[in-house]
Symmetry: C2
């Protein structure tokens, strides 16, 4: 029996485990910090109150329960000894014959970790719920605040980073203010909310063609989002954001500007690039360790195009499936083949019924692109139940302009302290 | 214009606000600590991973948005001055012509508040999510724990209190262990989990007939739940529960044993009973203050039957509607009529397809009772969308034996500290 240890239950790890499920002579252990696999591409919908956490997440052990040779353990890996072929997890040590490192990336504040408190990123369900709490609480606080200038600060939302996540967040806030919340308040006009998307580079969505990105910027402006390009953030604090000498007063700042790979690669003594990603061979193994693979956002694979493959779900899924095949070939005594990524295109959505899609030479925008975006995302959502529920919820939101999960849930669960809310919205008590 | 101030957006407050919506010469302000109305009777389903928080909660301001004369403010009331007709809220002061106190009840640990840490109650979404986290985490921790005796403690679940909530929680844990989780673990057999329901009195469900309660106890035992009656808890700590000289080692203890009314009634100087409930007149006003009403779990209304009306949703809903009518009659110069509760019966559910129902002289148990329970709860769930989604989710759970929301979500949202879990499950690190 060979023991394959997979660290991380994201798209790469889950697909590798599935591909090794039921294979004779192989035992698989998948370790993840959380108990759930997360459909990251729709996480912004949780942050924007459109979907519930459970709609886009499912227990990893349940997704793999049919494979008797796969076990799932919740735990955090702190270090890896490649020579002894062992990983130290918080509940003990696990040895392996094959190791698949698939523990992804986290947010990077470019050396300004102190900004995180004021500008949460969007990688986990906890962060998504926190963003939802902050955005909804800003409207609630503005509704009861008598000061015009405080209200203005509370109804100013800043999203930092003009990639797909930033565009999705900014578009969703714009849409929520203009449609969902329009009739629910008495003292404020939610439609007056300002949404500002900050991008350090010369244009948003640099991974897309110029024409497509320009269309997306126009669509954002239709939703009331101001797009500021060439605007690098120099400071974030409780009062707002600074861009050089300019200051935007804002109670709610969201971070979608940069990621850095999990530190586990570096900690294991592997060669990493500037973003902490582990450089891999054409077969996704690491130099000198043919039985250690790195995949997904943690890997830097440049062999195919000369530049690193993007940190997207399709790359991770194909890499996971490829590794399962590679290990099966190893066991059958067949030679390894290099990983080849099949690029099926890219897309980004900008609120209700607007998106941009690039597939090969095909360029779509507007409603047609949105339909494509919708179909693709629903198709990939894991598990029957999630798909049906998500479609229903979306259909309902689309028809009613409502959002299904507008809940402000506090972090404290005790009743002794039930209403102590974050001072982050900085309401002045009269 | 008269100003009606409603404190609390539960069943009583929401129905009072709806009944006053659109009425000429009346302005209504509803203040609640949270932004959502909660369908309490299904809260145990959130705690047991069957439903998502958003399935049973909706923004209060959205439920009332069609009434232009109703405004909703999120805030916490700290004190009330009945003579000055003013309430102090955390964001300022609100005056009123009419006051409706509808701020409900919370858990009571009978003078042992230190037990709460080890045995959370079930009144809010935060508490439900915390219970879900603890229950699911106990299985996860047991799966990776090498010690037989630790595993036994981790797979022992104690529910304190044999009322409807305790019965529902115990039944759901039993069912989850026997069916939902049965195939998902490799190192433990989830079906071996012990579930113990502790009741201090001589039998569970004392508000039901003896025959019905006995049937419920039998149904619980079919799900593997041990029902211990005449078992008053004398101590709860991190290691388990004590009943006199007996000790049950358990990592997960849930509290469903007692409630106490919100302190706001007492703080306002009103006459309260032993459980902190405000004694009310036949028209639900308080003695000497004809414009101050108390309703729902906070009220003690004994005029109809000689004993207090139960703290249930039907009582609260009927009281809320009655108050709206009474205030409208006041304004029209008509005399007040006493509140009369129309008892439509009571029910409790014990896991999948088992329940007990008492309506007048009708007694139902088993599947038929469960169908009645299901139809009634779906009917009352507020709002179209919630209903459809809940039915679908239940149908899916029923057919597949799965649960839709098996997520362990941590309380911390920062990535710097993503996996620090509560030491409450007390896993021994090897």
């Amino acid at each position: 029996m060979r023991h394959v240890l997979i660290i991380g239950g994201g798209f790469a790890g889950l697909n590798a485990a599935k591909g090794l499920g039921g294979v004779a002579d192989i035992n698989v252990t998948l370790v993840d910090r959380t108990n759930h696999h997360l459909f990251q591409p729709l996480l912004y919908q949780v942050a924007m109150a459109g979907l519930s956490p459970a709609d886009i997440a499912a227990p990893i052990r349940n997704l793999l329960s049919r494979y008797r040779n796969v076990r799932v353990l919740q735990g955090e890996v702190s270090s890896i000894d490649l020579d002894r072929k062992a990983a130290v997890v918080d509940f003990g040590e696990l040895t392996f014959d094959y190791l698949i490192l698939a523990c992804g990336a986290r947010h990077s504040y470019f050396g300004h970790d102190e900004w995180e408190e004021f500008a949460p990123g969007l990688k986990t369900l906890e962060q998504a719920t926190e963003i939802r709490r902050r955005v909804l609480l800003a409207y609630e606080t503005a509704e009861r605040n008598p000061s015009e200038s405080d209200r203005k600060r509370l109804l100013t939302f800043v999203v930092v980073g003009g990639g797909p996540t930033g565009v999705e967040l900014a578009g969703a806030i714009g849409e929520m203010s203009r449609f969902t919340l329009a009739k629910d308040f008495r003292n404020i006009d939610a439609r007056q909310a300002r949404v500002i998307l900050l991008e350090a580079g010369p244009r948003i969505l640099p991974m897309f063609g110029e024409k497509q990105a320009a269309r997306a910027a126009r669509d954002l402006e239709h939703l009331g989002v101001q797009v500021w390009t060439s605007s690098a953030v120099t400071k974030i604090d409780a009062d707002g954001v600074e861009i050089g000498i300019e200051r935007i007063r804002s109670a709610t700042v969201l971070w979608a500007a940069g990621v850095t790979a999990s530190p586990l690669g570096r900690n294991a003594g592997l060669e990493v690039d500037r973003q902490g990603r582990v450089c891999v061979e054409p077969d996704l193994s690491v130099n000198g360790h043919a039985h250690v693979f790195v995949v997904g956002d943690l890997a830097c694979s440049t062999h195919q195009t000369g530049k690193p493959l993007p940190g997207t779900a399709p790359v991770a899924m194909q890499q996971g499936r490829y590794l399962a095949k590679t290990i099966r070939r190893d066991l059958a005594g067949k030679p390894r083949q290099p990983f080849h990524f099949v690029d099926k295109g890219q897309m980004a959505t900008i609120g209700r019924s607007r998106a941009i899609v690039e597939v090969g030479r095909l360029r779509l925008a507007g409603f047609a692109a949105w339909v494509v975006w919708l179909v693709v995302h629903i198709y990939y959502l894991t598990g029957f139940k999630n798909r049906t529920l998500v479609v229903l919820q979306w259909a309902w939101s689309y028809l009613s302009f409502r959002r299904g999960a507008r809940l402000i849930v506090n972090k404290e669960w005790r009743f002794h302290n039930p209403a102590k809310q974050e001072p982050a919205t900085g309401e002045k008590r009269p």
